[in-house]
Symmetry: C2
Subunit: 140 residues, 2 copies
């Protein structure tokens, strides 16, 4: 069944629009601060597990594998609310983050600011303190 644009945008049926790889984009924000913690992807199974369990599951494009956020690090995400966007190809989850979201040890993956620098563009660190040492946490 093909849904019309109107049904997808104005309807209340959950009809995620997966891309050619079977994925939707998932944005996780900190439920308290509103900061974006990470941008990742979910396939159908990750979506269903996230909804059913209330814990964030993703699909890794590089590893081609489903993963529960925090399964290695213990830094899980409890989902406070999940929202779907207008064309149903992106989800936004507001989460309670245990520890740090980023594999580099930072609270958020977005620990660098983009600064115009004359003709070029540079990054600078911001909120870049490490909450854990990735060498220790992922060494197993």
């Amino acid at each position: 069944m093909v849904s019309s644009a109107h049904d997808i945008e104005e309807g209340l049926a959950f009809t995620p629009k997966f891309d050619a790889e079977g994925l939707v984009t998932a944005v996780a924000t900190d439920a308290k601060s509103g900061d974006v913690l990470m941008v990742a992807h979910m396939n159908d199974e990750a979506l269903r597990k996230t909804i059913a369990s209330g814990e964030a599951w993703y699909f890794s494009r590089s590893r081609k594998a489903l993963w529960r956020k925090g399964e290695s690090s213990g830094h899980t995400q409890r989902v406070v609310e999940m929202r779907m966007d207008c064309d149903q190809d992106a989800v936004w989850i507001r989460v309670e983050q245990t520890g740090a979201a980023c594999h580099t040890g930072r609270r958020s993956c977005f620990y660098r600011k983009v600064d115009p620098d004359g003709g070029g563009t540079r990054l600078s660190f911001v909120d870049a303190d490490r909450l854990f040492d990735p060498e220790t946490v992922y060494r197993k």
Copy 2:
């Protein structure tokens, strides 16, 4: 020049990692409320124009075209801060949104909540008031 994962994650060089279509994911949040307004994409030119102008530019995958946010509707986004994520394939912009971000007339594209409903999953409207009537704004 191929950068190492360490350089990409810990360096201060702006080296966006474009996908096969030449795009990075862009998440726009409201600088005041922290709400996610929209998820879209930027190509190299959209990134450069956004950085240079301080106004959000995107690349539409469906229309295969660069667009300045608000060029049809007047609902522009002034960029307060842009951040890059760890692997440099996603940017987060905190914006001052004029009017509504969503083409359906809502402030945010994420105007529906995902609710587990027994075996199924349903959506429900939340913050779904229309700030404009798309029929009027886009009728040209």
